[in-house]
Symmetry: C4
Subunit: 428 residues, 4 copies
């Protein structure tokens, strides 16, 4: 109580002849009354933990992110235990995919290792790595979410984000439905191809399985049970590959949203004279967001590298492989959808991650506009923080995901594509 009183005095002294300034909390309370009201009645609704719950539950159906307490109201309830059914399920899927990688590798080595055969090995390899990484993330997830909740509670004065839930739902719907359509088109293509070489339903399925999993049935005899397992493995790998991008996008957007709320508050006090105490508070909020970014980076930077690498690889290869070899209309439809969706998903994921960096730069212009009499050591420290630290998710610290880096990546893709297409042209 004494502190607030003292603060008000300081405030009154310092702001003397300038614009009157309603202290931090009041400004917000007037402006976002409706929001805050909702927040008070149901304080847990707008946490990130709650917002992401359903998406994590979906992942757990496919064996990803095996933590307990996902649907609990508070992040404190999250637990990771090695000895749990969810981890066993994940381990089982991991083994299944490892087997697929093994068979693909054997096949590739035996055949001689062209790019097209290696593609299968790489696809299952990415799937396996994704499952392993989500297991690793699951171990760190409870701590991360507790830190996140603490940040959200401490910074609840900036109000909740109304747009976050909507954004998360849109991206989830877009990526998952797109992936489903792509998977179905792929199956249709394979079935159509199989139907050309067989006439009974059973033999069509047999033919289809032999085509789409020839690396497996080359070593084990064909059986329907085995075919079912292989189909499941394919579906799981496809899902995990898509979910990886979705997961990175969502966490990035949620983090960027925290920065955005802080920036919105800063815009409100642009050009005003605030006491050092309030600058100190905002600076500490910014610092805790930076720490949260570091923690998140520690958790998912492996996955960011894998995601960028695999998307880069498949964009280059898919265009190169398919160019000029599309005879049938359904082949074309599959190719355009598949390629367009790949590009769209990569761009969505990239821009989501880069938005953290974008938002983190914005306080700069507000801080430079602080009037001369409001300038103090806290503003100076905040400014140094904002101008010298790069806040961004990284790919295992090899690169920071910023807009500039995305342009570099796009340039790399174009260069590789030009060289590869020229190769393919000379070849034929």
């Amino acid at each position: 109580m004494y502190i607030i009183k003292r603060l008000m005095e300081v405030l009154r002294d310092q702001t003397g002849h300038t614009e009157t300034y309603l202290p931090d909390v009041m400004t917000i309370s007037i402006q976002d009354k409706s929001d805050r009201h909702a927040a008070v009645t149901d304080p847990e609704v707008n946490t990130f933990h709650r917002a992401i719950a359903s998406i994590v539950v979906l992942a757990q159906c496919f064996g990803l992110l095996p933590v307990h307490g996902v649907t609990a109201p508070s992040a404190q309830s999250l637990r990771f235990r090695w000895a749990s059914a969810r981890v066993v399920y994940t381990a089982f899927v991991l083994c299944l995919l490892l087997f697929m990688v093994l068979f693909c590798s054997l096949y590739t080595l035996q055949i001689g290792g062209s790019f097209q055969d290696a593609q299968c090995m790489i696809f299952y390899g990415i799937g396996t790595a994704t499952y392993a990484m989500f297991l690793e993330i699951a171990r760190r997830w409870p701590r991360l979410m507790v830190q996140w909740s603490t940040v959200e509670q401490k910074q609840s004065c900036y109000g909740p984000s109304r747009r976050l839930r909507l954004k998360i739902r849109c991206i989830t719907a877009m990526i998952l439905s797109g992936a489903a359509v792509e998977h179905l088109l792929n199956e249709y293509n394979n079935l159509k191809f199989a139907a050309q070489q067989a006439n009974t339903t059973t033999s069509i399925i047999r033919q289809y399985m032999l085509k789409s999993h020839h690396h497996l049935f080359n070593y084990v005899g064909y059986s329907h049970a085995c075919a079912a397992v292989a189909t499941m493995a394919g579906a799981l790998a496809t899902f995990s590959w898509n979910y990886m991008d979705l997961f990175i996008s969502i966490t990035s957007i949620a983090l960027a949203e925290r920065f955005r709320l802080l920036n919105r508050h800063l815009q409100n006090v642009r050009g005003k004279t605030l006491p050092g105490q309030i600058w100190k508070q905002i600076r500490e909020h910014y610092t805790s967001l930076m720490d949260l970014t570091d923690t998140l980076n520690l958790c998912i930077s492996h996955m960011v590298l894998l995601s960028f690498g695999s998307n880069l690889y498949f964009i280059c290869l898919q265009l190169f492989n398919t160019l000029g070899r599309l005879a049938k209309w359904y082949e074309r439809v599959y190719f355009y959808w598949s390629f367009g969706f790949l590009i769209l998903r990569t761009v969505t994921m990239s821009l989501s991650v880069a938005s953290i960096n974008d938002e983190s730069h914005l306080p700069r212009s507000v801080l430079f506009a602080v009037p001369a009499r409001g300038y103090n050591v806290e503003v100076s420290r905040f400014l140094q923080l904002v101008t010298t630290c790069e806040v961004a998710l990284t790919g295992l610290n090899f690169f920071s995901v910023t807009r500039t880096m995305l342009l570099t990546m796009a340039g790399t893709i174009v260069t590789y594509e030009i060289v590869l297409v020229q190769f393919s042209h000379n070849d034929s």
Copy 2:
């Protein structure tokens, strides 16, 4: 009044034994007397709003930038209304160009999509995007110009720029006349080609239209009315493409000129001991220019990206397409003019935009040369501002347009050209 008196006292105290210094406003008033006299008698003449008026009017003849109040003496009169004849005109052109894109796309897909056919689709695509972007800019134009006018009024102590109007006229004349010559040469080429295959005037025109718009007449039957519309669409797309570069150049030059005026003033006080109050004023002027750059960037960064992308694409492709296939002298003349003009326009535009960044760096050396006794917290803040903030227009925040970036782009063009030319050589 009290403040000025106080300031003079501070001034007298601080400058004690050093060079006597005439306060800011006086120095300027003596030096630029003639300029300031003109400025007083007709204060509105030298605003950017007035300087660009005729060029915006020209754009509106072609349906670009549909705002009202362009020729009014003050920027306050600018208005954008959805329900106005100008917006309807713009919307009509937009629809026309969209139709052209549609026909080109259909044709390209049907033929199979070689690079040369896609060129037509991309050309009209760029035209459509340009019109859409200018519509978006028009919405933000009134606010931008009001902010610009405010900056000009507040910084009128630096005197008006005599060179700005001249520069704008030179660039406009150069780009528009160059584009006109290129367009005529192109038509001459097409007519000449048509004349080889027909003998009556009507049939020549018919032949010419069929050649230059075969993607259209492949779907709709030939008619003179249709041909006229197609010709108009081509002219509009060509104009908008050229105007885009012109518009970016002019706004950039005008902004860079504001920085240049501030720098000229700074050069005058180089090495002198000024009171903090004056440094504060200059710093705030610089900050408001930075804010203006941010606002301008928000308006036209989409267009900068489109402009750089399209120029990069056409430079690479035009050289590649035409190399070694120029039989007739008029084909050669057209190619050399067209390519030379494309390079010239791109370089002009790039250097204009980069000049903002160039000028924004210059205060640095003056600030480092501030003598020890004139150094205070305001100089320190100004220095931090200048050394840590990159002031530049960007391409949708993916890249800042600086001289270094232009070199990178030139290097990219050379690399692509080498690979593509090699491709073409091996091919034949």
Copy 3:
């Protein structure tokens, strides 16, 4: 005594109502009691000089790093003398390798200089350069190690590193055993090839020598003595090439470990209010580590450049040369082992060197988290140091070895590989 007393007072005043803080030395002493105990009983055991002794002795068996006093307990005993048996040995090996380079050059010029023949010349050239560089390093080694020891003694309050010795041993074992296997596989390949063209043991050896050293026996007649010398030269060059990477890795890891110990201490005081005196001490420790990095960089930056250059060259060339020309199983085994080991060694070396840079950034976040009342000019100076200086080993100052640079290098390799593979494909 007075100073400590005074310090305690300052401490008590400053930390007033915040977390109580045990002064620097105490915290450490409690936490790392066991370590410090060990350190007190045998203070020299954990120095870098002692840790690297056995590895330097191994190098001296092959004529590298000819200094005296390597096994002495203190770095003070290290001496370099031109007139010593070790230097004479080194000079002899250097001459031998120079002869090999001469013969290879002659052969390459005579044949006409294809890439594959130049490879032998480059291999021996790298070997010669390595020996010359280690001679240069040997001259500076005593001074470097004395500086290193001083740093270790002054910073002994951070405790010894238990992991350093283990890390050094692991990397040594990995690189040397890997290189041995690779060398044996290579010899086996050559012998197998020779065995196809001869039947008696003597003639096999003769054939084998003629194949693997044809550039030599083309000029001098075959003799068993000559063959033995050539074999020795090959082994020495191979060892020196591998040892170069090992040496760079080990020194880098040891230096990064010093930064890591300092960072561990900083993490312990995160968010606490320390007196300026203690910040001053930590800053000076950090500065002395920076100076040590500079000294080390002066010693081995030539070698870093050579190492990166040669690895880049051999990775590109080996893949290109061998692709699709592996008929026999032992050829395949040799190729995969050789290529995998080359990649592994390069990555190990690169990440070791980059870890110095990684560790040097970490104090930043602790310094930004210093609470407002603990912020003083020392923290500010430390922060400026950390944010503006890039601490890293360099390749002759042409590039700093950081994680970002490693990504650039990887991208370059991929680009070159794509172009070269395309070349090879079109060729056949």
Copy 4:
């Protein structure tokens, strides 16, 4: 007098219990006694103006850098006059070379413009541009040299540089003799080729002229007078091309030497406590060196761009053109000498220019090592200067010449070479 007395007091107070420190000037006077003695007896001997005099005179023999007063003892005597015999001579050479460019262009256009023919046009184009640029530099030379002299006089306390004259002579001797040998080898090659097709001396010369200047004699009839003029034009262009690199190297080395002298002084005071007054003086010296760099950059940045561009072009092209087409031994000798010399000259020039940037970074570590009690606002300003300003010559502000940039250029050359060589290989 009072100030010095006061300063000594401050000094005594501040350095209290630390190392005793002899004020700036004394330290120097003791250390460099012999140097300073020489400097006092003949103060003008060691100026850059005197050191470069003979090299400028040499240039004037070939019509470059037409200024008056080059051999005068003081830089104050330098004058540039449009109406002088030297400028007329330069203008004459410029016209001559312009004619050659004209004939080459005509020939290239007529033939069809292959790379090899364009080479001649580009060679004379570079020569013409060099003469024009040296004319421009001549206009600014007097002012630059006066500024340079002022800096040298004000910083004479750092002692003269003994190594500068030696360095300048070595580089001059190396580049000019290398260029002479290359020119003679080229003539020998051409004569040898001519001798194969003619038998009398006159006809050999005729044949030789026709071969080496076919672009000229294709338009004007052959005459000995005309041949003499053409030979002279060739020699002038060759000289100017080599002299350009030499000139850039020498001025860069001289400037870097000034930074080196300042750094040597800084190393002497490393870790000592100096009063702010002395730091102020050193900082101002550093600032004036930065200003000198800016002025020099304004003078020769055009030439730096031209030099880098032309060297990059000729390195790429010469290797590509000649590869695998060297039948005779003298052709090989010419090629290896020419290519080796080109690389050597480029590397010398690049490293000379980059050395300015290298030296400008060195004060940083000294400033960070300033002890806590010697830290004041002057040290802080100096530090900010050193850490935020990049001091380097630039290529027309498109790139700063630093070591990092040289590596990028080397990488670009290798990439282009790989693509071009592949092209050449597929071609044949």
